[in-house]
Subunit: 320 residues, 2 copies
C-alpha cells in the first residue's frame, strides 16, 4: 500500500480525549480501523517534568490499542507511578499524575522532538508501536495551548485549570488564540477535503473540538468538504458525560445542552446525533439546519460505541 | 553554620562507585558524616534515554542515604523498571538498566542542568534531598567522558565498554583526555588544600580515581597538600573486589595487584592500606616510599568498612 493510499481514509474524525477515544474504538469495530483518520486536539499539550505530554493523542492511541486505563479514561492500564512519586520527593509538584510507562511514551516524544521530528511523525510512530492501524494525526505541530480566563482575572493553561485546579465553575472566557495563530499539521486539511464522512466526536466542544476548529482553514475546509459532517453531542440530559464541559460551555455563553452544542457547530455540521434523553431537543436542532438522529450515546456499556458509530455512519450516508 | 564552615571538611576522599561508597559509609560511622567531603568521579557520566546519569555520584548518594540496592551495588533498593521497559518496547536500546526512581533522580538533574545549574549544585541539592550530610562534590562540571581504546582499534565511552559490552579483556589504552582538558569543580582544589586527611577510596584506579587525578591541578594539589594522602587498594589477592579493574590495569600496563595500584599512586600517596591476603606486598610498597597498613579490606561483612576507615585514619594520623 502506498503512502498516499494509506493517508486517504474515508472517515475522518475530529477528536478530543476520553469521549472521542471511546467513540473511535466503537467506530473501528464497525469499519476497518485503517479507514479512519483521527485529527486530534493538541490544545491540552504541555511539558510536565521535562517531557512533552499530548494528553488527547495518547488517550486516543492507548484506547485504540486497548491499553488504556478504563477506570481513569487516560493513561495505561496497570501503570505505576514511581517516577512522579520520586520527583515529588525531590520537590516537584506532582498534581499531573503521569504513570511510569506513560512517562516513557512522553520521554520518547521529547527525544524525537529534540531530534527534529514533528508531533505528527511522532504520533504516527507511537500509534504504530502500539499496534494501532487507525491514523492518529495531531491537529497541529506548533504549540497551541488552550488558555482559560477566570473570573478573578487570571489566565491559566488548560491543564492548570483542569487538573491542578479541578475545573472550577469560574470560566470567563476560553482563549484559543494560540490555535488561531497556528498551522494545521500537514494532511489535516487534505484529510478533511478527501473524506467520505466527517465526524465531530463526542468531545468537549469548547476545549477539545474548539481548538481544532480554531485552526486557520479548518472551519472553511469542513464547510467546503464534499462529505457530510456529523457531530455527536457530548452533553446528555444537560450535563457532560465526563469532564468540565458544562463549566466551559457556560464560560463561552453557550447552553449546556445538546442544543447548545449543535448551535456551536451549526456552521460546519450537517447532521447531529443526540442522546435519547434529549430527544425533545431534536426539533430545535433541526431548526438550526441540522439533520438529527436520536440514540443511546452513553458508551459505558459494551456495544454502545459501535452502535453509536453505526447511527453516525447511517445519518452521514443519508446526507451524502 | 556558614557556607564556608560547611564547605571545610577535615576528611576529603576521592571516590568512584561501589567500593568508594561502601568505604565512605564505614568512614561516616567512624567520624561525623558532615566532616567528610567526597570528590566523585564523573568520567562515567552520560546521557541515557534523554536524562543525564552520574553513576558514581548517585551510587555514593544512595549508599550514604542507606537507599542503595546492595545486591546490585547501584540504583535504589526496591526500584522498578517500567520506564526502561516501556522505552524498550518503543525501540530504545535498554542495556543500561535505570530504575524508575533512579530515572527520576536523573530527570531532575537534567531539568536543573537545563535551568542553568551546574552538576555540583545539583549533586548538593540531591544529597540533601536524600538526607545525606556528607558533602558530595562531582569532580568537574564539564563533561569529561572516559573512553576506552580496544585492541580492535575502536574507542568507546566507558559505559559502552563496561555495561553494554561487559568489560572485555581487550583494553589497549584508557583515554582520559576529556578529564585532562576539563576544569575541576569549584571547591575541589580548595577541599584538597584544606583537608586534614586525604583518602583515595578503594575504587578502580584507572577509570574511577584516574579521571579525578587527570584533572588539571589535582595531582599537584595532592602533592602539595599539608594533609597526608592515604590510598586503599581495590585489588585483593590479585583480583578486583568488583568490576573490571584487572582488565583496565592490564590495559594501562600495570600489575593487577595492590603493589600495581600503589605504583600508580606513588607520586601522590603517602600511605597505602592493603588487604591481609596481600601482606607480603607491604615491603615492595614501602620501597615505593609509602607507609603501609595491612587489614581486612573486604567490606561485604558488617563492620569491616568502619574498621577499615579506622585503619586509614590511624595510618594518616601517624603520617601527619
Amino acid at each position: 500500500m502506498s503512502n498516499a493510499a494509506s493517508e486517504h481514509a474515508p472517515v475522518v474524525a475530529l477528536a478530543g480525549g476520553v469521549g472521542a477515544a471511546r467513540f473511535l474504538r466503537g467506530l473501528t469495530e464497525v469499519i476497518a480501523p485503517e479507514e479512519v483518520t483521527a485529527i486530534v486536539n493538541t490544545g491540552d499539550d504541555r511539558e510536565f517534568y521535562g517531557v512533552w505530554v499530548s494528553p488527547d493523542v495518547d488517550i486516543v492511541t492507548y484506547t485504540l490499542a486497548d491499553r488504556v486505563d478504563s477506570e481513569r479514561g487516560y493513561g495505561l492500564r496497570g501503570d505505576s507511578f514511581q517516577v512522579v512519586e520520586a520527583l515529588g520527593a525531590l520537590g516537584h509538584e506532582t498534581w499531573f499524575r503521569l504513570g511510569d510507562r506513560d512517562f516513557a511514551t512522553c520521554q520518547h516524544r521529547s527525544l524525537r522532538l529534540r531530534e527534529g521530528l514533528g508531533l505528527a511523525a511522532i504520533a504516527d510512530e507511537l500509534r504504530r508501536a502500539f499496534g494501532v492501524t487507525t491514523r492518529i494525526l495531531p491537529m497541529s505541530e506548533s504549540p497551541c495551548p488552550t488558555r482559560v480566563a477566570l473570573h478573578d482575572g487570571s489566565v491559566v493553561h488548560f491543564e492548570d485549570y483542569m487538573v491542578r485546579d479541578g475545573a472550577p465553575d469560574t470560566v470567563e472566557r476560553v482563549d484559543l488564540s494560540a490555535a488561531e495563530a497556528a498551522t494545521p499539521s500537514k494532511g489535516v486539511l487534505e484529510a478533511i477535503e478527501n473524506a467520505d464522512t466527517l465526524i465531530l466526536c463526542p468531545s468537549n466542544p469548547v476545549v477539545s473540538i474548539g481548538p481544532i476548529l480554531a485552526l486557520p482553514g479548518v472551519r472553511a475546509a469542513l464547510s467546503a468538504a464534499r462529505a457530510p459532517v456529523v457531530a455527536i453531542s457530548p452533553i446528555v440530559a444537560g450535563a457532560p458525560v465526563k469532564g468540565p464541559a458544562d463549566r466551559l460551555l457556560r464560560g463561552v455563553g453557550a447552553e449546556v445542552s445538546a442544543r447548545g452544542v449543535a448551535t456551536l457547530y451549526r456552521d460546519v455540521a450537517d447532521g447531529f446525533v443526540l442522546d435519547q434523553h434529549d430527544a425533545e431537543q431534536s426539533k430545535d436542532i433541526e431548526a438550526l439546519g441540522l439533520a438529527t438522529r436520536v440514540t443511546d450515546t452513553l458508551m459505558k456499556k459494551p456495544g454502545i460505541a459501535a452502535s453509536l458509530a453505526r447511527h453516525v455512519l447511517e445519518l452521514a450516508a443519508g446526507l451524502r
